[in-house]
Amino acid sequence: MSRRGATDVVVTGMGVITTIGDDPESFYRALVAGRSGIGRFNAIDDRVLARVGGDLSGFSLDAYLERHGDGVGNDTKALMAKLLRGSPLSTRLNAASALQAFRSARLLGADVDTRRIGHVLGGHNLTVSYLLENAKTFDEEPEFIDPLLGLKSWDTDVLSVTSEILGVRGPSFIVGAACASSNVSLQCALDLVRAGRADLVLVSGAPMEISSLLLQACVLMEAVSFRSFNDCPQRASRPFDARREGFVPSHAAGALVLESERHAERRGAKVFARVLGASSASAASRHAKPNFASQVAAISGALADAGIGADQVDYVNAHATSTPLGDAVEVAALKEALGRRAHEIPVNSTKSMIGHALTAASAVELVATILQMEHGHVHPTINQEDPDPELGLDFVPNVGRAHPIRVAISNAFGFGGLNSSVVVGAP
């Protein structure tokens, strides 16, 4: 029983789509192998200095369902084809990863009260590329914009399409917290289940489309990698390394099913992990600059919510975006929040392989965290060539290893001082 004493919450379903794996199993294999999914973006304006990232713009729903459609009814496939035809990438990826999570939770066609299933989507500004394309069409001929733009341009359409496909009829909404969106959405889902407002809640981490405009904006802020690694993209995302120079944006989607333990037991669901606690904090600042005190508050708050002491933490999946300042502040915050324990446990970065999936990142990384817990093996942080002497934790450089995990923390920090941490435990 958690310290709140009311309802224990477990994870009973997971889905993930990244450039290195499009289901939890293939994703995990790629992670432990230390495989990079970073390349050059296909359709970025030549004038933009940043060229590298994780590009899923060629994602094909048909090909995806071909590989992962077992157990998905023909009616569901037909509905997906209808709703996702011509939809923005974010809508398609979100629906596909959520379907996977539902399938792994054995919820497709299950006898459950769908009014007791909620959906909290983490993300915002999801369809910018789609809007820009339609703005170009409008300039040429207003009549020829997408006739359903009035629906598809709302971020809530990403949520609603997924809910329609899966038949979710309980409390449903979007949570926006920049790159902490998915962690904060998980916190909201946790609260819904704890409060008894839902038996199950789908948490979907929806990706932002990566446009030339977004990349250029990040270049101007010097937030992304664009100086040294355009010709060797796989080396660009290098959290904690002395030569890190900025984050590497990527497409990815992740989804988790949170469920009250009682409900999961009643229907015999497999439990992948326990959600022990979560917390978020604001730095009261619109800046991109990381805030030490707020990050410490988020990490400490999540541990307090979980009723867990720092000495019980076995592993940290760091936010670790590969920015010079961001990684340093996060390491300092971990040292402050966890004390000597920070020096005794592995702290790795999933982003070293898949890049930074922005609004979806923390959903994808929580799936990575749970997979490592399940297998008792931590993945490497790749591209560790020149250790930064200022940091000095065990970042699992370049080679993963067996490591039992009972309790793990996953961090996510966003522009605008939006910081969050989630604590999960073994089943």
């Binding site: 037909a78 209808k82 035809r85 069409t137 040429e140 001929e141 009549e143 020829f144 997408d146 006739p147 359903l148 629906l151």
Partner: protein, 89 residues
């Protein structure tokens, strides 16, 4: 494009977008919405996509006056003859 070619484009779009049109014969006397159990958004999509592909424009107010597919085709053909629309991308 002649009338038959425009009709072929329209039928292809109906088959792709409206589930109730799949595998069915589509006649000019059919009503787009009611006879194929389509919803209004599907009809909007079919009409917009067809106009874009045929490179014609018909005012949204006039479109509502079409009682069946044949009358819709009449409007499309008339719009094409009038050369009313600029080339689509």
């Amino acid at each position: 494009m002649d009338r038959a070619e425009i009709f072929a484009v329209l039928k292809k779009n109906m088959t792709e977008i409206i589930g109730g049109a799949r595998g069915r014969e589509i006649l000019e006397t059919h009503r787009l919405l009611q006879d194929f159990d389509a919803d209004s958004l599907e009809v909007v999509e079919v009409v917009s996509r067809t106009m874009k592909q045929v490179k014609i424009k018909v005012s949204r107010i006039r479109l509502n006056e079409a009682n069946n597919i044949g009358e819709l085709l009449d409007m499309f053909v008339a719009a094409q003859e009038a050369g009313a629309a600029p080339a689509a991308r």
